[in-house]
Subunit: 272 residues, 2 copies
């Protein structure tokens, strides 16, 4: 799995050989030193928040989900996922969580300012993983794997899962599977099943509960990581299978007319 992941990562700017050498993007950074001031200034950053992992104390998933549900009505899906976790860590840990501008992330709502791209719940989750555990440039691929896991989990879950205490909408809500981390698709499928418009209290409470369900899952994963128990649950192929970044349920959008990506060059023969 580790080698598989770094093979995929190796498709981007950092060569597979560099990653396999265990130095990853840091080595690539050094290799890019001919770029002049940039790499050195990037390396000479303040650095106080760019040392990973950030200190983490285990949280209660249930409490976090309830906080997230309530925060949705203040700063919506992405902001609520981040806030429900970081507000508790500001109290339990302090910095660097206190210095992180949680409230900036309200724009993750509606698939980023209403454009229907990635749902704020997985977008917030991805951010939390990478801020706490660190990006793969820090030497760990765990956060990268958790992004894959949480987007797969979100896509496959019958949502919403989490039932808040004192929900604003007391009627039973429809549950749907999105098969996608995109807001437009996730919300659209739910609206169709529930026959409720975007502006309805039911749709809003559904989205608040989806965010809360995601915050619950994120804390479970972080707690497992803290206990040394986290193992990647999914085997996301990152474009390897069909030669382009994306999910592998191509037919759902493309129907039977799935475009063929230009083929990659033949692999170099293995040395004996």
């Amino acid at each position: 799995m580790e080698e598989k992941l770094v093979k995929e990562i190796g498709q981007e700017g950092v060569s597979r050989r560099q990653v396999l050498a265990g130095t990853g993007a840091l080595a690539a950074g050094a290799a890019l030193s001919h770029l002049g001031g940039l790499v050195s200034s990037a390396s000479a950053k303040d650095g106080s928040t760019e040392k990973w992992p950030w200190p983490y104390e285990k949280l209660d998933p249930e409490k976090t989900a309830q906080l997230c549900y309530e925060e949705w009505y203040r700063i919506f899906c992405g902001g609520a996922v981040i806030s429900s976790i970081f507000t508790q860590l500001r109290e339990k840990v302090g910095e660097p969580y206190k210095a992180f501008p949680i409230d900036a992330y309200i724009y993750l709502e509606g698939g980023q300012a209403g454009w229907g791209t990635i749902c704020g719940a997985p977008a917030g989750a991805n951010m939390v993983f990478n801020l706490i555990i660190g990006p793969r440039i820090s030497g760990s691929t765990v956060a990268h794997k958790m992004c894959e896991d949480v987007m797969a989990w979100y896509s496959q879950a019958l949502m919403p899962i989490y039932m808040p205490k004192n929900p604003k909408v007391t009627a039973e809500l429809a549950k749907t599977v999105s098969n996608s981390p995109l807001c437009h698709i996730s919300v659209g499928k739910w609206m169709k099943a529930a026959n409720k418009p975007l502006v309805s209290p039911e749709r809003k409470d559904r989205c608040a509960r989806v965010a809360a369900s995601t915050a619950f899952k994120v804390v479970e994963m972080l707690n497992d990581w803290k206990d040394g128990k986290y193992e990647q649950a999914t085997d996301f192929n990152c474009g390897k299978l069909h030669g382009i970044t994306g999910q592998q349920n191509c037919h759902e959008c493309h129907g039977s007319k799935i475009p063929q990506a230009p083929p990659p060059p033949p692999e170099e023969p293995k040395k004996a």
Copy 2:
């Protein structure tokens, strides 16, 4: 336009009346005080990075684009857009840019860990706008409007626009219009037009130039805002037209079978 935007924002948790009263989500926060500890602890955050706007000094778009192009080969699209702007502001301004963990955002690559959702270039741009100018909870809708603008601009532009100094790929690259801010669609259309696979140096350099083109645009917009000259360029309807968050070129994914969203409730009659 201002009233139109707040009408759209009013679809979410903050009521239109609260927004029109000029207090927006802050008033909503106060109204949610029955939620107990959450709102007060959220309000009692450290706060040093949650006061907007952050100090901003005008940057050179050309220099920023070149930095972004080079940074792509270190931390890819989303990270490169953020880094090209914030690294300069760390030097020109200092805090709060020094404390912001730029390198965490490598995961925005490939539409977030390779899932093909929102391209990291607009995802990074949206983040930069909201971190510098502030989210709409801060009292300004400018960053929200800029998100709409940059995603529309990205979708309509013949990309890549920016031609770096000393490009890594010297052959002329194909240019395409994505009609979408999604990585999968933007990259897929380019790969088809260029007949180049995901792993090719040409595709990588195309993405580096797309990120650089976006960083150029973001700095132009921020400079206009600093000069008091920014005006919203687009009229994004945020789901109003078709009753769901998303773009309005529905046919491109749905063909002729465009689903109908459940109708919103009739508008209240206007008082005389």
